[in-house]
Amino acid sequence: MTALATSSSSSPLHFWGYFMDHRSTDLSWLWSHTWLSVVPVVIGLLVALPLGWLARRYRFVYPPLISLTGLIYTIPSIALFVLIPPLFGLKSLDPKQVPIALTLYSIALLVRVVADGLASVSEDTVQAATAIGFKPLGRFFRVELPIAVPVITAGLRVALVANVSIVAVSGTIGMSNLGQLFTLGFQNSTNGPYYPPIVLGIVLCVLLALVLDRIVIILNILLTPWRKAVRS
């Protein structure tokens, strides 16, 4: 499974050649890296929406919820990775520990974002919607949530970019994703630096972060067509 350094050149610019030489491994790592970055954020959003609504609807829920999620966000990623198995009753090195940890981080970040986003909806708008005849559930999905979209997507961008970096950290404890490229590069550098896998890993991580960020920006524009009308 570990692709050994067979390429001749060790120049940092040789990363493309390295990629072509180990295409299938690198692509599978990129693929799992993408999934590990995206899926926890989606699950996190699905969990954070009702929790954020709860924090907005019942104000006394907000402070304890924010303290709790802040507490989760305080725990460093590598520590959370190794703490997940004993807490969830998994084996000590289980591939599931990384997505679980990332989901916890995403929930922690997004609950606050959703609650603040819903708080940014002005009271007048809510009252107007009620007066037109929206019932609470319909008002939430068709008025409050759409208006909160820009705040929520801003939070999604932060969560995604952070996740790409954190997933790479899990490569250091042996999970198979782009982080493995850094391990490979480090192990192959015992006799003089061997740059290609390290540079390739950084390039792919940054590209992945930029692409995911761009997708969320486009999503934001598609979901809030009225903002375009006001701007122009």
Binding site: L71, Y73, T74, I75, P76, S77, I78, A79, L80, F81, V82, L83, P85, P86, S92, L93, V161, V164, S165, A168, V169, G171, T172, I173, G174, L178, G179, L181, F182, G185, F186, S189, G192, P193, Y194, Y195, I198, V199, G201, I202, C205, V206, A209, L210, D213
Partner: protein, 252 residues
């Protein structure tokens, strides 16, 4: 498993240095020292820079540039710098690993502090700034006596998140042969000694929580009560100073 972790943490032999192993106490000190040094340097660089950019409004591109640094995977940069720098150091010191780690930690801490300081100064109520100038304060006085105290809450939140990131990344530095609490995680992993690995995780999480709590306490007692609305006797509903002032002005 949780019991074994507790046993590992509770064993005094694991806390003291022995001839073969470095104890928890020493690694904890080393970890705190790396982090404190990096945070101090980052603060010295980022705080004045953020204040000046926020005050003058010039050089905003620096903020944007610093924020793009966040997209870099820290592990990758750490390994890259280590591979570049470490071979130039020989002997039994860990300088070759320490220098790249400190560089990464400083680079990591700067964006949070810089952008939050900038946002803090930028978001000071223009009326407050005008009032300060109207009282005859010079630009420097406005910055240090009005804008800095008013932006302290945001500066603190930036510094606290920088602290957490630095503690987390200093842990990963143990993946390269460097001391610190991460040693236990990676050594435990290599030796399949899971109580040690998870015990290391508990220690790192504990350090992060304690550091954040300490900074919270510092923040609580340095940020002006006029901003936080933390008054001991009189409880003002919605006690942002601005709204109180507004009410007073309206009463006149």
């Amino acid at each position: 498993m949780i019991g074994e972790v507790f046993t590992w943490l509770n064993d005094p032999g694991h806390w003291k240095d022995t001839r073969f192993d470095t104890g928890i106490a020493t690694q904890l000190t080393a970890h705190v020292r790396f982090c404190a040094f990096a945070l101090l340097v980052a603060l010295i660089i980022a705080l004045p820079l953020g204040l000046v950019i926020g005050h003058t409004g010039r050089g905003r591109w620096l903020i944007a540039a610093a924020n793009t640094l966040r997209a870099l995977p820290t592990v990758g940069v750490l390994v890259l710098l280590t591979v570049v720098i470490a071979p130039h150091f020989y002997g039994r010191t860990d300088t070759g690993y320490l220098i790249p780690t400190e560089i990464v930690l400083i680079v990591l801490a700067i964006p949070s502090i810089l952008s939050n300081t900038f946002a803090g100064v930028e978001n000071v109520d223009p009326a407050v700034r005008d009032a300060a100038e109207g009282m005859g304060m010079t630009g420097k006085q406005v910055l240090l006596k009005v804008e800095l105290p008013c932006s302290l809450p945001l500066i603190f939140s930036g510094f606290r998140s920088a602290t957490l990131q630095v503690i987390a990344t200093a842990t990963i530095a143990s993946y390269l042969p460097l001391g610190g609490l991460g040693r236990f995680i990676y050594d435990g992993l290599a030796q399949q000694d899971f109580p040690q690995m998870i015990g290391g995780g508990v220690l790192v999480a504990g350090l992060a929580l304690v550091a954040d709590l300490l900074l919270y306490l510092v923040q609580r007692y340095t940020v002006s009560r006029g901003l936080t609305g933390r008054f001991s006797k009189k409880r003002i509903p919605d006690a942002r100073l601005a709204s109180v002032t507004q009410a007073e002005v309206a009463a006149v």
